[in-house]
């Protein structure tokens, strides 16, 4: 089409006409194949320029291509038919009003021909435009489709950026210093704290805060946390001979130094609330003596203590990390240890926090007492089974290799190094930290020059990066963790995975929620993190809690177990959205339900449907009064959607309490159920058939539910409400009177009926005994009707022939006697009353 044919068409087209390929809007649809352009003369100049060479083109040729499948597509003019051509191509997506460069090329082919290869997604429209930057001469191009390159959705790459303004002797800390959820960069000199505050708009604002000369500098480690609870980060300098604290003052614009006099050969330092009083204390590993800690008096003053947690007289303490390995809500202490020679000072230690300010050394019973020469261990729940595991990273292979220890969940660990990738990991480092760098939902381990990518099956694969361990945090707020090392920030190039991150603000608990356990629920099950200040060996990294969730697009809930014991809950948080969680901002479920009926007939089963919001996970139903109902179909008071059979009439109150997993927060809803008795009724009329000559209305004998409606077919004068029949205005005949109780209160409509006969009084009626008794018709052929006054009750009725023989005797006061079997003739009918007297008259059988 665009080929020779188009060339021909142009011959017949005036030069300034708008024709196909001239502009983006008139781009010609193409598929894979070869196309000829005779000259570049379209009025649409390709913009923006996606290839090198810059602006200056004055004409273009436009095509559009929508692949039917994912492909690797090559657009090329590097063809034998195109000698000595210099052309240029631009590839776009987007609409013509806002084109976005995918790629472009000028001279990648032979000579000055262009070749460009890119990945396409099925169904997406791509614009392909050539311009005349270099030449308007025509040429042939091809669009080739080959199988797509499989893109690793978990790809992790970094782009480095130099930040020359980062200055200071110790550029080893990344943390949010002003509680705005954005990680900042902190660097320290003897008399200066420099903070690069991350801006919400991107980039940093550099602030220098002069300090008094620090007695000790963070030569061995630095920890940051808000231990004076003013919302601003405070600093711990772990020096070779002692510890200096720089406490924030005046809304984070100043620091007040508090140095301690005791000799401490600091190694890893941490902030942690050791006595669970809501104030952060500090812990510092001592290289050559028992570990030290500093208890916070709640006023921001720290008192020195030594001993209790890692008390080897010769120290050997290098990498302390606080982890709740036994999920009891209290942060425990693991100490990565190192010491040359034949000494117990090199045996790693695990100290269980008893929750009462005391610790128990469980190194041996937990199977963590290992002599490996290590300066730090990376902890996380590497297999997402709900318990924190450890990678004990070697600093030297002298006393053993790296170890990957799986938390069995019973207070012990198993060595699962073999085959995990750690058994063959050749690198040594003093620093091992764990984060989910590629946001695939599995926490990785970062050490100098390598990231061990967690494959999700308790194996790791090393990927080499020319990055040593530094401060880790999200330095561009894109949800992917970046690394600061000196003046360089290695920004993670976001892949397609989703994530969440949250910052904790403790109220009753310590300010940063350090020691809190965060649980993230979703399609993956559960992921957990412990909030920490000070992991690895030297650096300080983000205290924000960061999770990758892979391709999942929904987070069911986040549970935060605070050190105070409080449990907060976030339901269905938006993905890829940072959030701040303040302690106590519990999201309770809001109870709500519907009932399949609220007015119902006794014996009905009502289906209750839970419609509670904000992630309930437990339900309790209660009904008052306590009797007259029962759960049906195996449901129970804790069913989400129970079924209840209401068996007795009455008014019931049904209550639902909906709560989430911690059973702490709950909310209720009440609903009233009205249960109605099932209606019953029967009717009859005494004295039917009624003569039209009757002057009184005939009342109905009604038993059961009142309030129904009487009806009959036309001809019977009947009162719909009372059922009274007026014979005198009725037409002779036999009617069915129906008494109908309309559906009400959930009970269905019911109807009952009886037969009523109206007889014209003018037809063969024989009255006797002063009109107390009537028989008709007379003569009668098949039935002889007898009507008695209400007061008249015969005990028997005899039909007697004229000869005096009884032909029929009936012992009741029937209203109609079948005489069809009698022979024609005259008969006596004798009624015997209760007192024995008899009444007699005659009738004729026809």
């Amino acid at each position: 089409m665009i080929k020779k044919l188009f060339s021909l068409l142009t011959l017949f087209t005036v030069s300034n006409a708008v024709f196909a390929q001239s502009t983006c809007n008139t781009a010609q649809v193409i598929t894979a194949g070869s196309y000829i352009i005779d000259t570049i003369n379209g009025t649409g100049v390709p913009t923006p320029v996606c290839a090198s060479g810059g602006d200056g083109a004055t004409a273009g040729k436009w095509y559009k291509y929508t692949p039917t499948a994912n492909y690797t597509v090559t657009v090329t003019t590097d063809l034998a038919v195109n000698p000595d051509i210099d052309n240029r191509v631009h590839i776009y997506t987007g609409n013509c009003g806002l084109l976005l460069c995918i790629t472009g090329d000028d001279d990648s082919g032979t000579g000055y021909l262009c070749v460009v290869t890119f990945q396409v997604i099925a169904g997406t429209e791509y614009k392909i435009a050539f311009d005349n930057k270099w030449s308007s001469n025509g040429f042939t191009f091809e669009l080739q489709e080959t199988p797509p390159i499989i893109i690793n959705p978990n790809a992790l790459t970094f782009t480095s950026q130099n930040i020359p303004t980062i200055a200071g002797t110790y550029k080893i800390a990344v943390a949010d210093m002003n509680s705005d959820l954005l990680d900042d960069i902190v660097s320290v000199s003897s008399e200066n704290v420099q903070i690069h505050y991350q801006l919400a708009t991107g980039g940093f604002n550099q602030v220098n805060i002069a300090t008094t000369p620090a007695t000790f500098l963070p030569s061995w480690s630095m920890a940051i946390a808000d231990y004076n609870k003013d919302g601003y980060g405070d600093l711990l300098y772990g020096g070779g001979s002692g510890v200096t604290f720089m406490r924030s003052a005046n809304n984070g614009t100043e620091f007040t130094q508090a140095s301690t006099s005791q000799y401490v050969f600091s190694q890893r330092s941490n902030f942690i609330d050791l006595n669970n009083d809501g104030n952060l204390d500090a812990f510092v590993c001592h290289d050559v003596a028992p570990n030290v800690y500093y208890l916070n008096d709640g006023l921001g003053n720290l008192q020195f203590y030594q001993g209790g947690m890692g008390i080897h007289p010769n120290g050997g303490n290098y990498g302390s990390i606080w982890v709740d390995y036994n999920n009891d809500g209290f942060s425990d202490l693991f100490i990565a240890k190192c010491r040359g020679g034949n000494t117990t000072a090199k045996i790693n230690e695990l100290h269980r926090n008893n929750g009462d300010g005391t610790f128990t050394d469980v190194s041996i019973s937990s199977n963590m007492a290992d002599p490996i020469q290590t300066w730090s261990a990376a902890w996380n729940d590497f297999d997402n089974d709900g318990f924190l595991d450890a990678v004990v990273g070697a600093s030297s292979f002298t006393d053993g290799n790296h170890k990957f220890m799986h938390n069995n969940g019973d207070g012990t660990f198993s060595d699962i190094t073999a085959g995990s990738g750690w058994d063959v990991f050749p690198n040594l480092s003093i620093e091992y930290v764990s984060y989910d760098f590629n946001n695939d939902g599995w926490t990785d381990v970062f050490t100098n020059g390598k990231i061990m990518i967690n494959n999700g099956n308790n194996t790791f694969s090393p990927v080499t990066y020319s990055i040593n361990v530094g401060g880790v945090g999200d330095l561009n707020n894109d949800g992917f963790l970046d690394i600061q090392n000196g003046n360089t920030i290695y920004f993670s190039n976001a892949n397609l995975n989703n994530w969440t991150k949250l910052q904790l603000k403790g109220i009753e608990s310590n300010s940063n929620g350090i020691g809190a356990r965060v649980e993230l629920y979703g399609a993956w099950g559960k992921q957990i993190r412990d909030v920490q200040s000070g992991i690895g060996f030297k650096h300080m990294g983000t205290m924000n809690v960061h999770f990758g969730i892979g391709s999942a697009e929904v987070i069911d809930s986040i549970l935060v177990r605070w050190p105070s014991g409080r449990v907060d809950f976030i339901c269905n948080p938006a993905i890829n959205t940072p959030m701040i969680l303040t302690e106590g901002s519990v999201q309770s479920p809001v109870a709500s339900f519907t009932a399949s009926a609220t007015n119902l007939c006794e014996g009905t089963i009502v289906n209750f449907t839970d419609e509670s919001t904000i992630c309930p996970s437990a339900w309790t139903w209660s009904i008052s009064p306590s009797n007259g109902w029962e759960f049906a179909n195996s449901s129970s008071e804790n069913s989400q959607n129970p079924e209840i059979s209401f068996n007795e009439p009455g008014s019931y109150t049904v209550q639902l309490v909906a709560s989430n997993t911690n059973d702490q927060s709950a909310n209720l809803m009440n609903e009233t159920i009205i249960v109605t008795a099932t209606p019953t009724a029967s009717i009859s009329y005494s004295g039917s058939p009624f003569l039209t000559s009757l002057t009184t209305d005939q009342t109905v004998n009604q038993i059961g539910t009142i309030g129904g409606i009487y009806s009959s077919s036309t001809g019977l004068s009947i009162d719909a409400n009372t059922g009274e029949i007026t014979p005198s205005t009725s037409t002779a005949g036999t009617y069915t009177v129906t008494y109908t109780i309309a559906a009400e209160g959930g009970c269905e409509e019911i109807a009952t009926s009886c037969s009523v006969t109206i007889v014209l009084s003018t037809i063969g009626i024989t009255e006797f005994e002063n009109g107390q008794v009537k028989i008709f018709p007379n003569p009668a052929e098949s039935n002889l009707n007898i009507v008695f006054d209400a007061s008249f009750k015969p005990t028997s009725i005899d039909l007697v022939s004229m000869l005096g023989s009884s032909v029929k005797r009936i012992y009741s006061n029937m209203n109609s006697i079948d005489i069809s079997e009698l022979q024609a003739g005259a008969y006596f009918i004798i009624l015997t009353k209760e007192d024995g007297t008899k009444l007699t008259t005659r009738f004729v059988k026809k």
């Binding site: 030569s219 000799y263 050559v288 120290g315 040359g340 020679g341 600093s395 040594l428």
Partner: protein, 375 residues
């Protein structure tokens, strides 16, 4: 004096020439013949020294009676013998005086050129740290005297801090700082001098976490010392004074004074590394898990010295430091970076210095520049 050059480094001779009431004890090291001069005085007595092993460490340095009065002159009483090491640990240019005392009738014994002498119970090693030309008064100032005493349970440390009046030194095992400025070669230097705590002493002075001396090895003592009564080879003097069993081998492989430019660079550097580094970079030491082995006896092997050896530990901002010693390339050599650093976490040694030992660094640079292969 009988000075001779070695014919070969490994060809070491010791000659003993017994003479009437004297004996001439010549110990030749591989570098220089070591000769001591006969001493005419009888073995030194123990007058005035008090070392009650049930009571030490005493509260005051004077309690021991090691020195004649005034104590600040550091003149030992009879029975307390001064000694020196061929190469000395750099501690921010502090000057040192060393003394040894042993209970009368007890001797140390030789157990190897490179092994610490086996001292008898009750032995005391004394080391005083001082500066000359201390500002502003340009005077000598003693800062501390460190003592190691061998009890039956092992060595103990005793740290004595001198008062400003220089009249007494008091036991203080907690460690402290002293700001000090002094003139040295026309330059005013200063440091916040660290007086170590017991814990810090132990960091270097240990073998499998048991306290030990460092310097008193035959290799470090096999040279002449100018005693008050004449110059003598120290080992000969110790034997003569009854401090050392007379069972030394005929030759001792010895370190030398690293400042003595008459020796080869490698030998100077090996001597330097031994005394400055080997207490941690040897078996059973603080950092024995690192591949370096810097004891004088071990740096015979170039790999032990770190030549062409990758460091276990990278320094983040110093990616160019690819080996501990890169032949011919100072800037890529980790050892140079660490010796030239004053950052607590990067510098080597970790303890004992806060400023750069420029002469030591120069020695290392000269050595690195002098080699071109890994051998």
């Amino acid at each position: 004096m009988n000075l001779r050059r070695c014919s070969s480094r490994r060809n070491i001779m010791m000659q003993i020439f017994p003479l009437a009431l004297f004996f001439l004890f010549t110990i030749q090291s591989c570098q220089k013949d070591k000769v001591f001069v006969p001493i005419s005085t009888p073995p030194i007595g123990n007058s005035g020294v008090s070392v009650d092993l049930t009571q030490v460490p005493y509260a005051k340095l004077s309690d021991y009676g090691f020195f004649t009065s005034p104590m600040k002159n550091q003149v030992p009483v009879d029975g307390v013998l001064p000694y020196e090491l061929a190469s000395s640990l750099f501690t921010d240019y502090a000057l040192k005086k060393r003394f040894v005392w042993m209970p009368q009738g007890n001797k140390a014994t030789y157990s190897g050129d490179h092994e610490i002498l086996e001292f008898p119970i009750g032995s005391v090693l004394i080391k005083t740290f001082y500066y000359n030309n201390v500002q502003p008064n340009n005077e000598t100032k003693i800062l501390e005297t460190r003592i190691m005493i061998l009890k039956s349970t092992g060595w103990i440390f005793a740290e004595y801090v001198w008062n400003d009046e220089q009249t007494e030194a008091y036991l203080d095992m907690e460690g402290s700082y002293k700001n000090i400025s002094w003139q040295q070669g026309g330059v005013t230097k200063s440091t916040n001098y660290r007086i170590p705590s017991e814990t810090e002493c132990m960091t270097c002075h240990k073998d499998n976490n048991q306290p030990i001396p460092i310097g008193t090895k035959p290799q470090n003592m096999n040279f002449d010392y100018a005693y008050s009564d004449g110059t003598s080879n120290q080992l000969s003097k110790w034997i003569q004074a009854g401090f050392l069993e007379n069972n030394l081998p005929s030759s001792i492989v010895s370190s030398i004074n690293y400042m003595d430019e008459s020796y080869p660079l490698r030998l100077r550097l090996r001597s330097y590394l031994d005394v400055n580094c080997a207490h941690c970079h040897r078996e059973n030491s603080h950092c024995s898990y690192r591949p370096l082995r810097l004891a004088f006896s071990e740096t015979i092997n170039s790999q032990n010295m770190g030549i062409c050896i990758e460091p276990d530990e990278q320094i983040s901002s110093q990616a160019q430091l690819i080996e501990i010693i890169v032949p011919g390339n100072v800037q890529k050599s980790m050892m140079h970076f660490r010796l030239n650093s004053i950052a607590e976490n990067n510098r080597m040694p970790l303890l004992g210095r806060t400023i750069v030992h420029e002469e030591g660094v120069q020695l290392l640079k000269d050595f690195i520049n002098s080699i071109s292969t890994c051998d």
